[in-house]
Amino acid sequence: MNVLNNTVYWAVFVNLGTYYLGKILQEKTHMIIFNPLLFSTVFTILFLLIFQIDYDVYYENADCLYYILTPATVCLSIPLYEQLHRLKKNILAIFIGVLSGVIACLTSILLFALLFQWTHTMYVTVLPKSITAAMAMGVSEELGGIPSLTVPIVIMTGITGNIIAEKICKIFKITEPIAKGVAIGTASHAMGTAKAMEIGEIEGAMSSLSIAVSGTITVVMATIFCNFY
């Protein structure tokens, strides 16, 4: 695979190509497993395993995608600003929604920890799973968890949200765009927000806002929940 070491575009090409392919397949089949993010991730992992390419080699090629994530996250405030009047009008609904969501999330993790008889380290590693990766690593580290294990769990949560969010909203009859957006952002950070953006402008804006709000609330609440187990 010498060729792959000397070119920098194959990784981006594989990622973009499989994402696009997943998108087309999903539109054609309406099947949840063709979620583009999941499809592209699984395909790329298989590709690397089959051709025995190190993750580090891949990452050297693909990190240009990761570099622009920060500027893109900064831009999440643009749709939010466009929905400023809705934000002002519904500030209570947004805040209470995020707060109850964070408490529900942390409580369910606590119950799972009791059920599976986890160690305290494992418990605090999973605790910040629903917030954006950089924040989750900080929380995990501060509470004595394993940050490098927190990250894949955060990502799995994001992919899960990206895949099932729309269905869950339908099942629970969550139809208000604001409530939908807040729910998706609180449960599955920026990866879910990417989906919310596709659903609609209001959903996307509220989901963006919820990343910051739920992240901050989780930082505080996790330090409290850390004492419960």
Binding site: N15, L16, Y19, P36, T41, T44, L48, Y55, Y58, A62, L65, Y66, I68, L69, T70, P71, A72, T73, V74, C75, S77, I78, P79, L80, Y81, L92, A93, I94, I96, G97, S100, G101, A104, C105, S108, I109, F112, A133, M135, G138, V139, L149, V151, P152, I155, T157, G158, T160, G161, I168, F172, I174, A179, K180, A183, A194, S208, S210, G215, V219
Partner: protein, 126 residues
């Protein structure tokens, strides 16, 4: 030139966000500081929406693909996940469902309650 200027502004705000992240000892990433900063700049009118909108919308449109490299990174954690992967998948799906349901339903309840109150008020004033 239009895009260069817009990208310049966005990159500068990102840089400021990372600067905050270095200076303030809280587990808040630079991107979140940058997002808050951009929001303040827009609200205060220092930045006009048009000065960042086109490039910003482009970045948001392609945002999903930016998660792929870190998602693929799960493969380098296979060893750590191997004994607990079933628990992790179970907990990930369950808590995501619970969180979406509780958050959405509680915020929807407040929105509807407010709407009812408003329509009642309107009836009274009529």
């Amino acid at each position: 030139m239009k895009y260069i200027k817009q990208f310049l502004i966005i990159v500068f705000v990102s840089f400021l966000g990372e600067l905050f992240n270095c200076l303030i000892p809280l587990p808040i990433p630079g991107s979140i500081y940058g997002m808050i900063l951009m929001f303040i700049l827009l609200c205060s009118g220092i930045l006009k929406l048009e000065q960042v909108k086109k490039t910003g919308k482009f970045l948001l449109d392609i945002m999903p693909i930016m998660f792929i490299p870190s998602a693929v990174g799960i493969m380098s954690q296979f060893e750590q996940l191997k004994d607990i992967w079933f628990q992790i998948i179970l907990i990930t799906i369950t808590t995501t469902i619970i969180t979406i349901a509780i958050t959405g339903l509680s915020s929807q309840a407040i929105i509807r309650w407010k709407k009812r109150k408003e329509s009642k008020k309107n009836e009274c004033s009529e």
